[in-house]
Subunit: 186 residues, 2 copies
DNA sequence: CCAAGTTCGTTCGGTTCCAAACAGTAACGG
DNA sequence: CCGTTACTGTTTGGAACCGAACGAACTTGG
């Protein structure tokens, strides 16, 4: 390595239960600090690395074909499964703010995939519904999306999949506030 | 439920190894389609639900204090651990395109946290380095970030954490192209 | 009934995303 | 040496993100 070349993160892992080389290097370099919880760091960082990798791939290979954003897709999916939604609830389900969803829905409405109507009983509310065109899109796109999910799950055995799902459900419930002490302090 | 109220996704799970009520409802509603891989869907959807929840929380409680974006934080972290980086590599590590990183680095440079300099041997390249001010920020912010990671990991026992990490590493390697058949077709 | 407080969806300014285009630099091969 | 190909980081246009602000509608309590 010459004086002008820069260090690059390594990628290899000898065994899945052991830290990857990159994980080990991070630990070594961050070791100057105290009170770092390395197992937690490894666990959480791998969650969002997997999520990022899956999302990037799905966006590129499935959603991009219809110029569908992740959030747009999620919105269509929620409307498909649970029917018309109030904006605030739909925003919550998509994991974005109301302001963001407004923009996304404007795009989907322009494409004729959703419509927004005032709520019958409460003048503040807007109810979002999917159109027949929107239904056709999600019915076509979702199976393709799911096929990507299958390809991802192929990394593991059936038992491992179930175990991963079980652990993630536990973590999710915890993060969403059912037992989190950090949230109690807020 | 009156005619104007809309269906909302349920949240409860009886046991972590069993589908949550929301998962069961999705399966019921999507059942009209064929060839849906429900276990894979459960597994993958829980990965990005956890990732989203963690990210939203960390952004709100840690990164937002310094008006640091997720990508900005990741860039500082990579520079801190691995030293100066070429833009293309840094973009790769942050999981964004070079174009996006340009904008993020412009913001970080404005704050005096990074500097961009031409590479000594290759006029096309830019080398990104962290300043002393940037170092101070990441040394302060990272432990706070890690504390959130610990809080997340508290949902599981030590063995469960290790198992979750092991499974995620396997999935990640698979998704990143080491064995993926969907990638071979591209 | 009415003032004060709360909630709603939209707008706004700034930033982060993408893909595509671009100008500059480097590598390659005749 | 030079034309062609490949790679770089930045710019561009459009869309997705955030938090804050806003005006309209609703709720609450005296």
């Amino acid at each position: 390595m010459s004086s002008n070349e820069v260090a690059r993160p390594a990628r290899r892992a000898a065994k899945w239960s052991e830290p990857t080389d990159r994980e080990a290097e991070v630990a070594a370099r961050v070791g100057e600090l105290h009170d770092i919880d390395f197992p937690a760091m490894a666990m959480v960082s791998n969650v969002y690395r997997v999520a990022n990798a899956v999302r990037a791939r799905v966006e590129r290979e499935v959603l991009g074909v219809d110029s569908l954003s992740w959030t747009g897709f999620t919105a269509l999916f929620v409307l498909w499964v649970w029917g018309p939604q109030e904006t605030r609830h739909l925003a919550e389900e998509c994991g974005v703010t109301k302001g963001t969803l407004t923009g996304v829905l404007t795009t989907l409405e322009k494409r004729g995939w959703v419509v927004r109507r005032p709520h019958a009983d409460d003048g503040r509310l807007v109810v979002v519904s999917m159109t027949a065109a929107g239904r056709r899109v999600i019915r076509r796109v979702f199976p393709l999306f799911n096929r990507q999910e299958s390809a991802v799950a192929d990394a593991l055995t059936g038992r491992e999949r179930q175990e991963l799902t079980r652990l993630l459900r536990k973590v999710l419930a915890h993060v969403e506030g059912e037992g989190s002490s950090a949230e109690a302090e807020a």
